[in-house]
């Protein structure tokens, strides 16, 4: 199984290599990158309190907008609405900002307050009507947005005993997952207008930094400070409820904390961002048993950046295109190619 991960534009034989390594947040950390739903724009955010929107112009990537003055502290994560017209940003200043796209760029629409301290993540539900946020205050909040762009918190979930690092929505159902410093993952569902924690997934032996669902939502990948990636599969139980079991653990590949994991909805490839400066891509072995899948490392760049890699994100429309970002403020775009 031959595969390679290279900076976009390199190795193609052409002498000019377009800038696919960008100094996105100079003198600062770049914490997160997110592709727009149509795959044409990339939002980055960082320790300089700013969000930058990047787009392709010919062979190069240029900064299209800078969203400043929205936050007083680090912007930790950004998320695009499913329609692509809104951006949400989560900040250490304890707020979540909602931005709306206009002709010039983006304007700040509203600021969601309520968390007691740093907001670590924000995520839009696929329906576009719900937003989830999580914080060091140990809670997960779910917000509803109506046709007039009004946001209202509909529930505060206190299922974790520590800092909540990440939230992610199931791709097709109204189901939410959260990852925490308490080493656990929680799964939430709505029943009779009430959101509740339906399952607590134990297994990681240190902070769970991130998680994501595969294209169908039948499986979930999580990554941790314990230097492993776990694959979880949903099993229906007799009571009609479901349970999640860990069906695979990838250990021995990552030298330090794994900060992010991204499952490509187009190809099924799994990418990780690690504190050992590497970006890695894993693939499920075709022959493996679905109840006990086997994943192999098929490509890696050991020095993807010269500092920790904080985020890895597959382009949702262009197969094999991966964005990553680092503590050195850089953003890089890669092409993953398989034979």
């Amino acid at each position: 199984h031959q595969a390679a991960l290279r900076l976009l534009g390199q190795g193609g034989g052409s002498s000019s290599s377009p800038a696919t390594r960008l100094s996105a947040h100079p003198d600062s950390r770049c914490w997160f990158v997110a592709w727009s739903p149509n795959g044409t724009l990339l939002a980055s955010c960082g320790g300089d309190k700013a969000i930058r929107i990047w787009g392709r112009e010919g062979d190069s990537w240029v900064c299209k907008s800078v969203l400043e003055d929205g936050h007083q502290r680090t912007v930790r994560k950004v998320a695009w609405s499913p329609c692509g017209n809104y951006l949400a940003s989560a900040s250490f200043d304890a707020t979540t900002c909602i931005w709306k796209k206009n002709n010039e760029g983006f304007e700040s629409l509203t600021v969601l307050e309520g968390h007691e301290n740093e907001v670590k993540c924000v995520a839009w539900a696929p329906s576009g009507n719900l937003l989830a946020t999580c914080s060091r205050d140990k809670s997960v909040w779910i917000w509803e947005v109506d046709e007039e762009d009004e946001y209202e918190c509909v529930t505060v979930l206190n299922s974790h005993t520590q800092d909540v690092k990440h939230v992610a929505w199931h791709p097709t159902r109204e189901l939410l997952a959260s990852a925490s410093y308490d080493n656990n993952i929680c799964i939430y569902k709505e029943e009779d207008d009430d959101w509740e924690c339906r399952a607590t997934l134990e297994g990681h032996t240190s902070t769970v930094w991130s998680l994501c669902f595969d294209a169908t939502g039948q499986r979930m990948a999580s990554c941790s400070d314990d230097r492993t990636v776990k694959i979880w599969k949903e099993y229906p139980s007799e009571s009609g409820d479901t349970s999640w079991k860990c069906v695979c653990t990838l250990s021995g590949y990552h030298g330090r904390t794994v900060y992010d994991v991204s499952w490509c909805p187009l190809t099924g490839a799994l990418a990780t961002a690690c504190g050992d400066d590497a970006v890695r891509v894993f693939r499920e072995d075709v022959t493996s048993n679905p109840e006990e899948p086997v994943f192999s490392l098929v490509a890696q760049v050991t020095k993807a950046h010269n500092q920790d890699v904080n985020c890895a994100s597959w382009n949702p429309k262009e197969a094999g295109i991966l964005a990553s970002c680092s503590d050195n403020g850089e953003l890089a775009i890669w092409r993953f190619k398989e034979d």
């Binding site: 950390r29 680090t74 930790r76 240190s206 503590d327």
Partner: protein, 159 residues
């Protein structure tokens, strides 16, 4: 910085400072790249002020050169520090000061691990986990009052 009226450890044991390192010819040569060694890391952290006492971490034996492990080739630094008493509530602050000093002084390529000497603190796991969480450290340092306290620990004293 105001000193609390009640000190947790009013009579700490005070240790003697070790001698300055003599310079070798190789170190004086501008063309030779100096590898960062244990002693250099120790020199960076030995004079950090204890938050409570008018003494340095070296004088309180909170840091010792023997508890510093550097690997220049692999760009890793490990520092073990020993709180003066097992229930020291300043342990996280001391660990944070050591971490910040090293983050500010060392090249970006270094991975810095600061943890409590095993068996010397009641909450060592909890403290170690916080110090190892770079997101928590980054957010803490955006808190201006905490940053001020850390900077005071890192300020040089005229002896």
């Amino acid at each position: 910085m105001s000193r609390g009226v009640q000190m947790e450890n009013a009579n700490p044991v005070i240790f003697q400072r070790c001698r300055d390192r003599p310079l070798t010819a190789s170190e004086e040569d501008e063309d030779v790249h100096d590898l960062i060694d244990d002693r250099e890391i120790f020199d960076l952290i030995r004079s950090i002020n204890d938050p409570e006492h008018p003494l340095s971490l070296e004088e309180l034996n909170v840091v010792e050169q023997v508890r510093v492990k550097v690997n220049d080739a692999e760009s890793t630094v490990g520092v073990e520090f020993t709180p003066t008493i097992p229930h020291c509530s300043m342990a996280t602050l001391i660990g944070l000061s050591i971490k910040v000093k090293l983050l500010r002084s060392l090249p970006d390529r270094f991975k810095i691990d600061v943890h409590i000497t095993p068996g010397t603190h009641a909450s060592e796991e909890a403290v170690n986990k916080q110090l190892a969480d770079k997101e928590r450290v980054a957010a803490a340092l955006e808190n201006s009052s905490l940053l001020e306290v850390v900077n005071q620990c890192l300020s040089s004293r005229n002896i």
